[in-house]
């Protein structure tokens, strides 16, 4: 299964995630949904967030040029929000999964779906 397929079937395909991408820690985008215009710099910033949470908190994270507030950062997850939209970033062993929810998608559902994929990837050593 290619990375894009993971994104399309396990994340966006469930309806609980609006846009998603799986990226390496260096910011290289491994796979993303077609509607997600994420840049390498934005992906790298998200991955860096895990090693330096304090810096994130003051500045927020940008996706597609939009700034999101950071609500929580811990070892495996970043939560952010912008108005009614928001994102979850989950970290696995070699990658970060970025999921954005928009327009009435339940945040909890988005978190759960993304978390499930993260657990699966971790179990596959990715």
């Amino acid at each position: 299964m290619s990375w894009a397929e993971y994104v399309n079937t396990s994340l966006v395909g469930t309806g609980a995630v609006s846009k998603a991408a799986i990226c390496g820690f260096d910011g290289s985008v491994w796979g993303k949904s077609d509607n997600f215009q994420i840049t390498g710099e934005e992906a790298a910033a998200a991955a860096r967030g895990f090693s330096n949470p304090d810096a994130l908190l003051g500045t927020g994270l940008k996706f597609e040029g939009q700034k999101f507030f950071i609500l929580q950062v811990d070892d495996e997850r970043i939560i952010g929000k912008k108005g009614t939209n928001g994102f979850f970033v989950y970290k696995t062993k070699q990658a970060v999964i970025i999921s954005i929810y928009e327009d009435g998608v339940q945040p909890e559902a988005c978190s759960q779906t993304t978390g499930k994929l993260a657990d699966y990837l971790k179990s596959m050593n990715y």
Partner: protein
């Protein structure tokens, strides 16, 4: 998604809000918690002979004000909470058993359960709680929410800075869109317990003897400031130190509620002397008018130099706690926090607390920001998180958010981290 609708009119959920001073329990949809039991329980160890006349050590746990305040020997008072988190799980389970059996008189498998937790609760503890509720109590659905978020909900908001002044500590938690901004939580161990300690010191200084109620058999009426005339009960068992301390604290808490007051601006000693005095009658018949003391003791919450015998170099006062928490948040949400300041917790019921916080913060926050502080009526402030939980658990759209038993069985205890923010 989760199967079935759990709440609604048919079976209401149960809301638990565990605090360091008391444990609030009740059915969702009610205005106030049905039960408010002390978080402290008496653990009674004694020796008994079984049918073969062999000595055995038995342990009995006394929960609830009526049972635990009976004087017994070898009965230690113990709190199941520590630092705002559940710590003694054995005792906590006994508390839950008591809650289901003696308070709510219902069976746990019929009601979804909503728990509150502190913003700094650990992952291991919330997973343990989830496991306990599903495995031991067999609940059909479960959810845990940060108590600051619930307080915001009880005030009809989804964002704001929640200043919670409780028994063991005062904390400021920024809440944004129903999420706690956990990295910006600021807390300091000044709260109701500290105030009680300060009062005890003040009484000792004035050589006022604090006699707990369990010792008193009878008392006579005396005039103000005259030495009390009372007789001691005979045949009291030799109680433990922790029991005596607990019973003394009951009086101090009552005294604090009756006389303490905060000025709405920092005090100078002269004007404090001119303020009206407040009388208090002790259980042993002694009574006295309290003057400047009633202002000076709580002043310690806002000006640490009024605290006696406390190393205040590492402490923060209440207004510092609130402004630091705001300062740690993203700059774009700060104005929103300052204009939605919510005050909750039993310690905030000291007369003048909110006015004083408002005054001190007005000097600290940027001039362009509109500071608006809201403090609900006393009962709602005591039970803020519980009321929020009661509202949340009875809202229609929340019913699809519960962690159902099936989901727990599929996902294991780790599911709580994913579903509950």
């Amino acid at each position: 998604m989760s199967g079935g609708v759990y709440g609604g009119d048919e079976v209401s959920g149960i809301v638990f809000d565990a605090g360091s001073h008391s444990f609030r329990i009740g059915f969702a949809g009610e205005e106030l918690p049905n039960f408010d039991i002390p978080s402290v329980a008496g653990i009674h160890e004694y020796e008994t002979n079984d049918e073969n006349s062999i000595m055995r050590r038995e342990k009995k746990v006394h929960i609830g004000t009526t049972k635990m305040t009976v004087p017994r020997s070898n009965c230690e008072m113990k709190n199941f909470m520590h630092d705002g988190m559940i710590d003694d799980w054995d005792l906590f389970e006994q508390m839950l058993d008591f809650a289901y059996k003696d308070c709510l008189r219902t069976e746990s498998q019929y009601h979804p359960v909503l728990f509150s937790e502190s913003a700094w609760n650990e992952k291991a503890k919330r997973e343990k709680l989830t496991e306990l509720m599903f495995e031991k109590y067999n609940v059909p659905a479960f959810f845990v929410v940060k108590n600051a978020v619930l307080t915001a909900f009880s005030n009809g908001r989804t964002a704001g800075l929640v200043v919670d002044s409780g028994a063991t500590q005062t904390s400021a938690v920024p809440v944004f869109d129903g999420y706690c901004v956990t990295h910006a939580v600021v807390r300091s161990p000044i709260g109701g317990d500290l105030i009680c300690e300060q009062i005890e010191k003040m009484l000792a200084e004035q050589k006022i003897d604090l006699v707990p109620t369990y010792k008193i058999k009878s008392k006579e009426e005396v005039n103000e400031n005259e030495p009390p005339r009372w007789t001691e009960k005979n045949g009291l068992p030799e109680v433990t130190e922790s029991y005596d301390k607990y019973m003394r604290k009951q009086i101090v808490e009552d005294l604090a509620q009756s006389i303490l007051q905060l000025c709405d601006s920092p005090i100078d000693v002269e004007s404090a002397e001119k303020l009206p005095s407040s009388p208090y009658g002790f259980p042993n018949g002694f009574h006295k008018e309290f003057l400047a003391e009633r202002i000076k003791v709580p002043e310690g919450l806002f000006d640490l130099k009024y605290l006696r015998d406390v190393d205040n170099s590492t402490l923060m006062n209440v207004s510092q706690i609130a402004s630091t928490a705001c300062g740690m948040c993203d700059i774009d949400i700060r104005p929103n926090l300052y204009s939605n300041l919510l005050v909750t917790g039993g310690n905030s019921l000291i007369l003048g607390f909110t006015e004083r916080l408002n005054h001190d913060l007005a000097h600290k926050c940027p001039p362009t920001v509109r500071l608006r502080l809201s403090a609900p009526p006393p009962a709602e402030r005591r039970f803020g998180p519980w009321i929020g939980g009661s509202i949340l658990a009875s809202v229609g759209t929340f019913q699809q958010m519960w962690i159902s038993k099936t989901e727990y069985e599929d996902g294991g205890r780790g599911i709580v981290e994913k579903k509950c923010p």
